[in-house]
Symmetry: D2
Subunit: 176 residues, 4 copies
Amino acid sequence: MERIVIICGTNRNDSVSMEIAGIYKSLLEELGQAAVIIDLKDLPSDFTTSALYENSGKNEKFNEFRELMSEAKKFVFVVPEYNGSFPGVLKAFIDGLKFPDTFTDKKCALVGVSSGVQGAGLALSHLTDIFNYCGTNVLALKPKLAQIDRHLEGGRITNDLYNTLLKDQAKKLVDF
Amino acid sequence: MERIVIICGTNRNDSVSMEIAGIYKSLLEELGQAAVIIDLKDLPSDFTTSALYENSGKNEKFNEFRELMSEAKKFVFVVPEYNGSFPGVLKAFIDGLKFPDTFTDKKCALVGVSSGVQGAGLALSHLTDIFNYCGTNVLALKPKLAQIDRHLEGGRITNDLYNTLLKDQAKKLVDF
Amino acid sequence: MERIVIICGTNRNDSVSMEIAGIYKSLLEELGQAAVIIDLKDLPSDFTTSALYENSGKNEKFNEFRELMSEAKKFVFVVPEYNGSFPGVLKAFIDGLKFPDTFTDKKCALVGVSSGVQGAGLALSHLTDIFNYCGTNVLALKPKLAQIDRHLEGGRITNDLYNTLLKDQAKKLVDF
Amino acid sequence: MERIVIICGTNRNDSVSMEIAGIYKSLLEELGQAAVIIDLKDLPSDFTTSALYENSGKNEKFNEFRELMSEAKKFVFVVPEYNGSFPGVLKAFIDGLKFPDTFTDKKCALVGVSSGVQGAGLALSHLTDIFNYCGTNVLALKPKLAQIDRHLEGGRITNDLYNTLLKDQAKKLVDF
């Protein structure tokens, strides 16, 4: 069975997004769907110079993630809100992937995360533009987990609406 | 007199955006306005791990650019289109700046550049969201220099409309 | 078989978008897919006061279109660029539809049309936000038919790339 | 002194946006700035057929609003969230204005209003694209008055943050 790749959309240490990625993996597995997580914190620290443009495909460590992305048919992006959009590192990661094979006719689900009240709404809109441009269909349902610090405790989401939205989305992605 | 900072929005070597940045500097100087260019290719190669989040402000080399951005009151961003939006590296650079002082009540102008027909239109829309979120007013006029390779020769733009738009924008920015 | 509803996204008389809608209907029929066109010019002239908000569902003439939209599972929106986005009339039409039943878990394809060079790119981005909010999945491939006047002759599109993109999109929508 | 035109961005009867428009008028007047309100509910009920495209400028009643918009140098748009963006009627109103004179080098401020948690964030992003396309500079500060029903009582806003943001924005607009 093909695995769904879940991308933790920041390279920050001990990120909340990584916690959400772990929760999402469990949701998929409960549906009988295998999944694997890419944490952007594991990218080589110099990847923006050693793995992009004329160096595309030349960084062996980066290529491990590149291959995972190339082989998968479906993705989940967990996207924290930084400065009103997604983290620059997430887009730099995308800029280093094999184009267009990584994206053409694939499918993805987006989850927004923020400590503030917006839940990364604009970030998800921007990313939808990017993935659609690249040829990847984006699931309409995009949960926006605003004020996440109030709703996450001991590795579990305590907000019923958030849990329902994530479960619905995971199921829709499996069926997409 | 305060200098306007022009940011070449990619870290690619010998970028077309850097050529446009140079042309823009001349336009501003013809208006009697001093300007300085930041080329993102000069960022430390590991800045996404050494200059963001808990390391914000700790990378001396990165801090030189951070200071330039902090002191300026007006910016020009030259933005190539990568994967339907701006380069990830540009947003990662923004993520490492001092917030919100770098942005509050400042003013900026955006120029889109692409080899294709869109002229980075969506990139400029996304960036407008980001700068507005951060508190920086964005000039309405945002030239989109599509199919740039046909319109750039020997370090000069050969398309009259493009030249007119850039001159108009430079003048509006000085008066903004 | 369920019919796909094609919406001509303007109420202008003799619109180019209506021509494109007709071409799209033929493309779908060649694929063995039945389709029907809604031309927004046929909306009652006072629908913005007689068919929205507290009058939602009360205008019999408007309700004919409302029913067509309710019953369909897939849509094609042909969207001309007006003032940098979609026509206001198209969004007012959407505002009068039964919510959320008209949209939940449905699928749509978007085609941009412009006399200028942008091909309604921002309009399609804005509409994607709207449909995703409403629960409708949007196909990633969204042809942008820029400078349409140069590429339309005697009811046929004369630009090979445009024809290929529309055919690909129609096929993807049938399979979506 | 030139008056600022405040546009209530919906034609719904007794709209919350109209209440906010009234509050905003008072804020401007406290700053010594004259203002006048356009309530889209006063538009002729058939304006989408009688005042757009080939009929642009031909509807006398619509023209009263058109003139107000033409003469003003600064605008405030109070924008409720309908279906994940602005009301279609607001964009149809914009589509009937004199282009580009109504917009070129003018300035505007945007206020989002919603009963839900988003505060019309995407609506304001879409409108910023539209106004920038038309040549109008948009103030970066765009208050998003989410869950407005909890924060409005007897014609006054009871949320301190909302009041502070609106006052700051009004002052910035006067100085813009």
